[in-house]
């Protein structure tokens, strides 16, 4: 190996999903083999590119660009060195130039522009790839103008409810108070979603930058990231990044030499799905049981500790820097109808090519499932797809041509939510899926409303009777009735939307609820 002073950069993700497939062992094996051979390399632990069927994906920097190999297990390393992968050598696992991989190339990565490319906790790397340019622009602008730009961009909350971010910010901006807060909702409780996690592990500085800009915009000097406790890797990455940002003068008093102050702290949740609901989250941050609050007052006016508070999802906040950097028009030009910009779709479950796809709103579900997802992992037909987390509807094949935007999904009785897409093959039993939805609601109910707390338990029992072929028609009617009660009598969307997975299963997959004997005979 040549003895040049510039070492070859090798990238091995520190993303939790990559680690779950052996990335740590892969990185260790590369380090050990490099020492054995005297190869001069530098291993960078990047975020994941989001092509999870190829993880652990290793990249090498070459004069032509970054070359990817994957999936690379520790046992492949000696072989890869022998094939001179450090110079992009040929090998069965070689995937070519990373940027040319079709799955990536077809995407429009705005929020995820740096994820997988940079060292997530290096401020230097972040700045070298366009980081903190949004903040620089914000520091030259008035608060009111920052709020206006966010409004004009058309950015809507990515946590599920899709409320316009600019309007929320304006409310907090206009509320007089000596103390205001920016709270990042990093509870990411929806099953089938992991975009927040990938940002927090792969480019935490973009979230930090977004929160600083939000603070400047509304006049808040303290930020909290409420992170679910199931994400220990994100917890570490966020804390490393916060420390790095602080040391570089981006957090604390007088950020970047301006008159603005901003402090940031990560707080851990404790395994309660309901704490993703914003008022419950605020209760939890205050150190009490996470029970949903009545609205009004809005959190924007009386939020954390009774003060005006911006509560935004990770992706919402992480999309702010590019809007400030490139302008509201740039962002708004992506998307369709009232869904502007891009959404990181998260392809999950039974898909051959599960991964993160950031694209403008408007792709159809079928394009996502087949063009990107490559069909089911098991090779069987995809029978049902749950979009938008555990409270999202199950969509049958007849709805696969629905474009993925907020309004188009609502029109077919579904919802986009946080952008999770979970595919099931034809072995799925939809009566069981409906039962699980009710069970989940029973486990996670905050207990405030009777229909949600008790009704969900009754829901499980009714579905059990349907499955056991007891008085079918009567119990199906009872189940629908119960769903109506939940829909009408719940304070928040946990009880209020659990009818979506249940009734969509009933409506589109009625055969799974029919008495077993009948089904077997037909």
């Amino acid at each position: 190996m040549s003895n040049t002073s510039t070492h070859i950069r090798v990238y091995v993700p520190r993303d939790a999903s990559a680690l779950s497939l052996g990335a740590e062992q892969t990185a260790n094996a590369i380090a050990a083999e490099a020492i054995r051979l005297g190869a001069d390399i530098q291993i960078v632990r990047n975020g994941a590119r989001g092509l999870f069927w190829l993880e652990p994906m290793v990249e090498v920097e070459t004069p032509e660009g970054r070359v990817a190999y994957g999936p690379v297990q520790a046992s492949d390393i000696a072989n890869l060195f022998a094939a001179d992968f450090l110079h992009g050598g040929k090998h069965d696992l070689r995937l070519g130039l990373t940027e040319e991989i079709p799955y990536l190339k077809r995407q429009q990565r705005l929020t995820f522009a740096r994820v997988g490319i940079t060292d997530p906790v290096s401020v230097e790397d972040y700045v070298a790839h366009g980081g903190f340019r949004g903040l620089a622009a914000a520091l030259k602008t008035s608060s009111a103008d920052i709020v206006k730009q966010v409004t004009d961009s058309g950015l809507r909350g990515r946590g599920g409810a899709a409320f316009p971010a600019g309007i929320k910010w304006k409310t907090v901006f206009s509320a007089p108070a000596e103390q205001k807060y920016i709270v990042c909702n990093a509870d990411e409780g929806d099953s089938g979603t992991y975009a927040d996690r990938m940002i927090m592990e792969g480019d935490p500085l973009v979230l930090i930058e977004g929160m600083i800009i939000a603070g400047i915009a509304v006049g808040a000097t303290q930020g909290y990231i409420y992170l679910r406790s199931e994400y220990p890797h994100a917890f570490r990455a966020l804390n490393e990044a916060i420390l790095a940002a602080k040391n570089a003068g981006y957090l604390g008093t007088g950020i970047c030499g301006s008159e603005h102050d901003f402090e940031l702290e990560v707080r851990l949740g404790a395994g309660a799905y309901i704490c993703g609901e914003e008022t419950s989250l605020l209760e939890s941050l205050e150190g009490i049981r996470g029970q949903v609050r009545f609205k009004p007052p809005l959190p924007a006016l009386k939020g954390l500790f009774g003060k005006p508070t911006v509560v935004n999802n990770v992706i919402t906040l992480a999309s702010v820097p590019i809007i400030l950097d490139r302008g509201a028009d740039f962002y708004r030009d992506f998307g369709m109808g009232r869904s502007r910009g891009t959404l990181p779709f998260q392809l999950a479950g039974n898909l051959k090519h599960a991964g993160l796809v950031e694209c403008a709103f408007g792709l159809t579900l079928r394009e996502i499932l087949y063009d990107f997802g490559g069909g089911s992992a098991t090779g069987k037909p995809i029978r049902a797809v749950q979009v938008g987390g555990p409270l999202g509807a199950y969509m049958p094949e007849s709805q696969f041509d629905t474009p993925l935007d907020y309004e188009a999904l609502a029109a077919v009785g579904a919802m986009l939510g946080h952008g999770g897409i979970v595919a099931f093959d034809d072995s799925v039993d939809m009566a069981q899926q409906a039962r699980y939805a009710m069970e989940f609601c029973a486990i996670e109910s905050c207990g405030k409303c009777t229909p949600c707390r008790i009704g969900s338990i009754r829901g499980v029992e009714v579905i059990d009777r349907i499955i056991a072929a007891q008085e079918h028609a009567k119990n199906v009617a009872l189940l629908r009735d119960l769903c109506d009660t939940l829909l009408a009598g719940s304070l928040c969307a946990l009880g209020g939307m659990v009818p979506f997975p249940v009734t969509s299963a009933l409506n589109h997959f009625a055969e799974d609820f029919e008495p077993r004997a009948l089904r077997a005979a037909s």
């Binding site: 939790a16 999903s17 680690l19 779950s20 497939l21 999870f52 993880e55 990411e188 409780g189 929806d190 099953s191 089938g192 979603t193 992991y194 927040d196 996690r197 406790s229 199931e230 994400y231 220990p232 890797h233 707080r267 851990l268 949740g269 404790a270 395994g271 309660a272 799905y273 939890s284 941050l285 205050e286 150190g287 009490i288 049981r289 996470g290 500790f305 998260q346 392809l347 999950a348 479950g349 039974n350 599960a354 991964g355 993160l356 992992a377 749950q386 555990p390 999770g420 979970v422 595919a423 099931f424 093959d425 799925v428 069981q432 899926q433 699980y436 989940f440 486990i443 996670e444």
Partner: protein, 173 residues
Amino acid sequence: MARPAIPIQLRNEPENNLPPDQSAAVADVLHRLKGVPGALLPILHGVQEALGYVPPDAVHLIALALNISRAEVHGVISFYHHFRSKPVARHVLYLCRAEACQSMGAVALEAHAKKILGIDFHESTADGAITLEPVYCLGNCACSPAVMLDQELHGRMTVEKFDSLIQATRQTA
């Protein structure tokens, strides 16, 4: 005439029944965190991280430090699935029960796990090696089914991978 003094009945504070090492750990956490805004969750995390659970005997110490009632502390511990009032085994295995994992065989994996470990959720194996807990998504939904052993995530679990993970875990301290 002087009236006889009426003895004042002091509120009966329960004594500190924690073993000295646990007591010291709780005191340390309280000392570090009782001043932060919304201190109770950080404190409970601190105690559980130090001791593996929140001993019922720690509840009144926490309540005293925060000047809230024991019922409030207890209410918070019981509200959140993450906090435990019973000691755990050497390792905690979280098994994802949510939809993406279901689509890739989590239901069968759960049945297998309970069978070979001989326990249900929230229980520990007789050898004190593993506590089994359900979890509702680990954010590893592109690599389902997923489990987390202590803080280490594992993806695309199969029965075979699960068995060797258990075997390796049983051998570690």
